[in-house]
Amino acid sequence: MQQELIKMLEFLTQDLLANIWFFLWCVIWGVYFIVDSFSLGAGLITPFIASDKKQRIQIQKSVGPFWGGNEVWLILAAGGTFAAFPLVFSKMFTFLYLPMMLLLIGLIMRGISVEYLHKDDSPKIQNILMWGWFTGSLVISLVLGVAFANFFKGLAIADNLVYQGTLLGLFSPYALIGGLLFVLISATSGALWIKVKTEGPIGTKAGELAKKSSIVVLVLALVYLAYSFAGIANFTVNYSATPAFYVFPALAVITAILAVVFAKQEKTFLAFCCNLGVILFIVETGLASIYPYMLKSSIALEYGIDIYQGASSQLTLTVMLLGALVFVPLVIIYQLWAYTLFREKIRETETVDY
């Protein structure tokens, strides 16, 4: 059966599969950034807007049922890279050893803090965990923002995949703007989500915060995009070849403007969706610029790792494609179903037992 199936799918050449998997890779990262943004954002703003335990519980309950399932998109992004582009996976993690360790610690800290936030009555422990949630969320969004800016800019990869970069070298102004942008988009996303999901003063406070932060996001997004197109080597190559790609940065700017407008008009859900659009389109703007490279080299383009060099065998890519075709729709269906399970707004009077 396996042989017949493989024969049937022979028209999927390895090059075609490498392209399909690059596309899927871009989609998976996009989905991850969208779905985790509001749980990261909730962690980022909780210490500043929740005035007591009741309001913390409201925030926690608004993201509690979802964050775990959402984080799996990140695991899929990493696992998918491992499976479809092992060379890229290996080099990406080895070159960025310390940032990846930092990301790991951020993920552990965030996960434990969210889960344990109210498992103990001691206000001291709750306070520590609230700041753990904040710190974890900050580290995750900052490291990912900085890392992706570096991917778009290119890593210092010399001939024969020798990495010449330094830890300090990763923190260029461009990367710092990218990191800051991700932190702020996430915070805005979290604020708007809290406004959508809760009743009472906490929602009002979050809404006010989003009105201001969405403006900062718009400004930073414009700076970041301008910097990308004007100041990053080889960024415009694909855009000159395929002008249709300009739709990504254009949509990023449009959604950022709309997010500001809708937030001001208190059309919160629309503002939330537009803010998610900003993340998605900025990520895709960058990813469209590096194709066909997955690890772009800032020294010379030909030193980077492209999708053909990094891809797994035809059989592996085919098997995984079949797996993805079956399970990704299934995952999307039950994750959406989970959102409908908890669609009521969370009131301030609610108790907690989790």
Binding site: A84, S90, T316
Partner: protein
């Protein structure tokens, strides 16, 4: 280079061992809590609800750590074992990606649903827990599929330049007999561990003279699971030992420190291996032919000794031997403890048997130790290979600055100690508080 190798291995051992302290309890408790949730839905018997609440609370605390420490594993393949990932990616990557698609999403999504659904939606709550249990158990299949390839490579082709393995047959990966031995053995040991944790916590409650029906019923269920799994494990282990000797002769011989090739090999009740002389410094009370029987299925069977194998393909014999002895000895203790528990419970003497209750309370760490020891046998016994017969462990490590690996070991270990303290504190509090209230 040597230092980097040992640091990378140490870091991997710490992260995987710590992760594996939480996973087995998650595997077993998920199924049991799902069962209790369903029983409550069907019968509306309040005891079932209280059981689901109590064990569910422990499950929640435990699950969170299992989840986050699992992330560390995925990361390490890239950060510390880059060349290994490149060598194995074509084969290893797909089970891992399918694991995320099939299992992690189920676990992650439905865990959130189960926690936040209230009892008015009991049917959905029970269903969600079954999905979590399904997810965790499927997850073990995929990770063992990947590990199975490292132990017994099948369905692959080595590139002529030896740089990597290419998958040629996906179903061969899944039907690898090593995978099925290991999967059943791992799941059984996870259920045994869960049963012993429950027995230990129940014993604590009985010692506190808490005669809540919650713990009486929990004990009744757990003692049966403990007995069945404790008996099945060595039965299965016997077949497994023969199989290991077939596919990895060095590991098989190291498990019983058999140095010289021979037939009718005895097994010694007291034995101390000494790798420096290539023999046992102490051999007492030999049972004729027993080792031959265990490893070949016949009392006169021939076993190849370690001294007849290439010296650079032999694992650290002492570590494999002592871990194996520790695991098997504990295995026999578990049978005895489960039998005693069942007898005391049937005769109604259980709640007054303070000695037995104390023993069971202090036995909680034992299955954890047994499981880590068993894992040590499987993984250390495979050395010096990281992928058996294909890639040596030393060729699998990333060349990153030793200082960075050292720093990350310190960071991770410190962090894990905090996590462990937190988990211990929260579970202990849950258990102690349950003694006062019903």
């Amino acid at each position: 280079m040597l230092e980097l190798l040992y640091l990378s291995r140490l870091q991997f051992a710490i992260t995987v061992a710590f992760h594996f302290l939480f996973v087995p309890l998650t595997l077993g408790l998920a199924l049991l809590v799902a069962y209790m949730e369903t029983a409550y839905y069907k019968t509306r018997d309040e005891t079932w609800r209280k059981m689901a609440d109590f064990w569910g609370r422990i499950f929640k605390i435990n699950f969170a750590i299992g989840l986050v420490t699992g992330l560390a594993m995925t990361f390490q393949f890239g950060t510390n074992w880059g060349p290994y990932s490149e060598f194995m990616g074509d084969v290893f990557g797909s089970p891992l990606a399918v694991e995320a698609l099939m299992a992690f999403f189920l676990e992650g999504t439905f865990f959130g649903a189960w926690i936040f659904l209230d009892r008015n939606r009991q049917k959905l709550k029970a269903f969600s827990m079954w999905m979590v249990a399904l997810g965790t158990n499927i997850s073990s299949l995929w990770i063992i599929t990947a590990n199975g390839f490292m132990q017994n490579p099948v369905g692959y082709e080595l590139l002529p330049d030896g740089s990597k393995v290419i998958m040629t047959d996906f179903f061969a990966l899944l039907t690898n007999s090593y995978v099925w031995y290991m999967l059943v053995h791992t799941l059984l040991s996870a259920y045994l561990l869960t049963a012993f944790v429950i027995l230990g916590i129940c014993a604590y409650q009985f010692l506190k003279r808490n005669d809540s029906e919650v713990f009486k019923r929990s004990f009744k269920i757990a003692v049966v699971i403990a007995l069945v799994t404790a008996i099945l494990l060595p039965v299965l282990g016997h077949g497994y030992a023969q199989y290991v000797t077939e596919i990895q002769p060095a590991k098989g011989a190291a498990m019983d420190a058999i140095w010289e090739t021979g037939s009718s090999v005895p097994m010694y009740l007291i034995q101390v291996p000494d790798a420096s002389t290539g023999s046992n410094s102490i051999e007492l009370l030999g049972i004729p032919g027993l080792a031959s029987f265990l490893y070949t299925g016949s009392f006169s069977g021939t076993i190849t000794g370690l001294n007849q194998m290439p010296a650079d393909e032999i694992p650290p014999v002492g570590m494999v031997f002592w871990n194996f002895k520790l695991m098997t000895m504990l295995g026999f203790l578990f049978i005895a403890e489960a039998l005693a528990g069942l007898y005391l419970q049937k005769t109604g003497k259980l709640y007054k048997s303070d000695l037995y209750l104390k023993l069971m309370q202090w036995s909680i760490p034992l299955p954890f130790i047994a499981i880590i020891a068993g894992w040590n046998v499987a993984e250390i016994g495979r050395q010096p290979w990281i992928v058996y017969g294909l890639l040596k462990t030393e060729s699998g490590i990333s060349t990153v600055p030793t200082s960075e690996v050292l720093l990350s070991i310190v960071l991770i270990t410190g962090f894990y100690l905090v996590l462990w303290a937190l988990e211990y504190y929260l579970i202990k509090k849950t258990v102690v508080n349950a003694a006062g209230v019903d």
